[in-house]
Amino acid sequence: MEPIFHDLLAAGGGHAVAFYACSAVTIAAAILMVMKKNPVASVMWLVLSFIGLAGIYVTLQSYFIAVIQVLVYAGAIMVLFLFVIMLLNLRREDIAKMELPKVPFAGVIAAILFFVSVFLVIKASTPAFEKPVDALLGEPALAGDSVRAIGIPLFSQWLLPFEITSVLLLAAIVGAVALTKKKL
């Protein structure tokens, strides 16, 4: 394993270092998110994991997706999560009482599935390792101006579904008020 890693670093230079650093942050934060008992701490680690993911998008030169990742996931959705958790107002004693049901059989199946998927990912990605990592990282999914590449079709060819979605969101807002407000 080690020589491959070394070669990659040698071939990719700074790009590869950034890529692996972001990946490490993403994975470590994801693991910590699962391990933490306090839900608020979990959410904070999840935010860090999302930011790491945004970093990976940057190294892949998908700047627009990186920005959206931070704005939508690390920003809006996480604020929503935090609000829900804070509104639930879990106390320390309640958290201590929460224990996962012990189902060994489910654990075994989950472990098997995990290792099978790891095996498949490694097996499927070997040809990619034959390419120099710099070349791999240097191929952006959307050439250069990715905002333009997404924006222009969205507001011309695909305007109709976009507009219907806006009515859908309006209906959702009206509905949220209609279902929750005490006096209407």
Partner: protein
């Protein structure tokens, strides 16, 4: 095709504006005047209905929204059906909401937004707009179903509808992804490289057999998702609870609007995306679809009608009866598919479905308006036994409900009879094709179910006329609801006796269907 053509989309734009006007007017009106918004809605939709009926049936398909929106005869016909449904729902909701006393502005704007979704559904020309339009309908109906927020049954109805709806949406997306993967195209009709209009069904027909299989797998999954929307067996489990728990006007809206929207999409997918098999070519795959749909149609017919027999609650009974009606409508779908499998472009099944839906709107709406009047806007007396002696307590109401029930059962010369007649005859026509003689069994099942449904509908009628009333409380018939109900019943009789113009209207949709 590469133009926005906003003028073709004016009905939808009008609807969105009407919804916004209702929403904003709600803020400025005095509390006791807010319930008049129902009349604003009914009035606004009446203008739209007159406008649609005055629009001549287009002779060619016109495209708008950069080829994602189609204006054709079928879309126009279904929009007329939806506009009429909307008017009737608004009329019966006004009194109901006044009694329940909760948020008319939100209620009516959601009804209008749901109608906008249905209008879009009628005109979609690509999978993405299809998905968002259908979700718009589902979301609005979910909120409306849960509108009685202090009522446990209503909450249950809302939750069940949203969960089943989400699952159906997931299945539909899954199917669409397969079709997109196989064809590389999400539009039903589009400009080919040579400037000719291409149907997605032609693209599918030209695929290699492996990819064709992928696309047809996609259709099957997509049609399962749509099966949830139209409540076909075995995707019907949500129907009785949702129909019972939702506020009665919403149940009426669900039973007509949501069902019609589902059938439009099934027809769109089948006419535009499923390939017509050329004579001599391998027809195994489309043939499988015919068998699948024949099985679903048969099960839906028998399940809906047999399960309705032991029901004690009229709303649940109407739920099962609507499953039965979905079975009849599926007969038309089977007929169209069988024609496709045999390489013919005859689509009499579609015009039979169009006629049936048109008749079904008035029949079902008359029945539901009758129920809203009878329960005086509450939700506590939907037991069938409560209707005992209605013939003595309120003769006009009992007469109208009886005619509606007879039409639902399919008694000549009412509209419902001819609806069923045309659907069964479209199946008989398909049974003449080589290798499809077995479809006659399905036609026979349709006929047998008329008799079964006659039994449970007549049980309700029997209680109304043969039993003594359990209470002497007079039933007040509010004039607007009474007028709407009588108008529906008159139309049910008129459509049954003078079918000519209505059949002509329904067959008019065929000219622009397959382009």
């Amino acid at each position: 095709m590469d133009a926005m053509n906003l003028h073709l989309m004016l009905p939808e734009i009008y609807l969105v504006l009407l919804g916004l006007v209702i929403l904003i007017a709600d803020l400025y009106l005095a509390p006791e005047k807010r319930f008049n918004l129902g009349w604003w809605t009914a009035g606004g939709l009446s203008v739209l209905a007159v406008w649609l009926f005055a629009t001549p049936t287009p002779e060619t398909v016109e495209f708008a929204g950069f080829g994602l929106y189609r204006a054709d005869g079928f879309a126009l016909f279904m929009k007329k059906v939806f506009a009429l449904t909307g008017i009737l729902v608004a009329v019966m909701s006004t009194g109901y909401l006044k009694r329940y006393g909760r948020g008319p502005g939100e209620f009516f704007s959601l009804v209008i937004f749901a109608l906008t979704g249905m209008f879009m559904v009628a005109s979609v020309n690509d999978f993405m707009s299809l998905f968002v339009s259908l979700e718009l309908v589902t979301l609005c109906l979910f909120i409306l179903a849960a509108y009685r927020r202090h009522d446990k049954l209503s909450g249950e109805a809302g939750i069940k509808y949203i969960i089943v709806g989400a699952m159906a949406a997931g299945l539909m997306l899954f199917g669409m992804a397969f079709i997109y993967g196989a064809t590389g195209e999400v539009r039903f009709t589009y400009m080919g490289a040579d400037g000719q209009l291409v149907l997605l069904s032609q693209t599918v027909a030209n695929l290699e057999s492996g990819w064709q299989m992928t696309a047809l797998f996609g259709f099957t999954v997509l049609l399962v998702g749509l099966g949830f929307k139209v409540a076909a067996v075995p995707f019907h489990v949500w129907v009785p609870d949702v129909y019972q728990g939702a506020p009665t006007p919403v149940t009426a809206f669900l039973s007509v609007g949501s069902k019609a929207a589902g059938f439009i999409l099934i027809i769109r997918v089948i006419t535009l995306v499923v390939p017509t098999i050329a004579p001599g070519a391998d027809l195994a795959l489309v043939d499988q679809l015919v068998k699948l749909f024949a099985l679903i149609a048969g099960l839906t017919l028998f399940y809906g009608n047999l399960a309705a027999i032991p029901q004690k609650n009229l709303k649940r009974l109407m739920g099962f009866s609507s499953i039965g009606h979905a079975g009849y409508l599926l007969l038309g779908i089977v007929a169209v598919l069988a024609m496709k499998a045999a390489g013919e472009e005859t689509m009499n099944g579609v015009s039979a479905i169009a006629f049936y839906l048109f008749a079904y709107v008035f029949t079902n709406m008359a029945m539901f308006i009758g129920m809203v009047i009878f329960t005086q806007g509450s939700e506590d007396s939907h037991a069938i036994d409560d209707y005992a002696g209605l013939g003595k307590r309120a003769p006009l109401l009992a007469l109208c409900m009886t005619i509606a029930l007879l039409s639902l059962a399919g008694v000549p010369p009412l509209a419902g009879f001819f609806g069923k007649f045309y659907l069964i005859s479209s199946i008989v026509e398909a049974a003449r094709l080589d290798g499809y003689g077995w479809l006659l069994v399905l036609a026979a099942a349709g006929a047998v179910n008329v008799v079964i449904s006659m039994y449970y509908y007549l049980c309700v009628v029997k209680r109304m006329y043969m039993l003594e009333p359990t209470s002497d409380e007079p039933i007040h018939l509010p004039p607007p609801a009474k007028i709407a109900m009588v108008a529906c019943i008159v139309l049910v009789v008129v459509i049954g006796i003078f079918q000519g113009p209505f059949v002509q209207m329904a067959t008019g949709v065929l000219a622009t269907l397959g382009f």
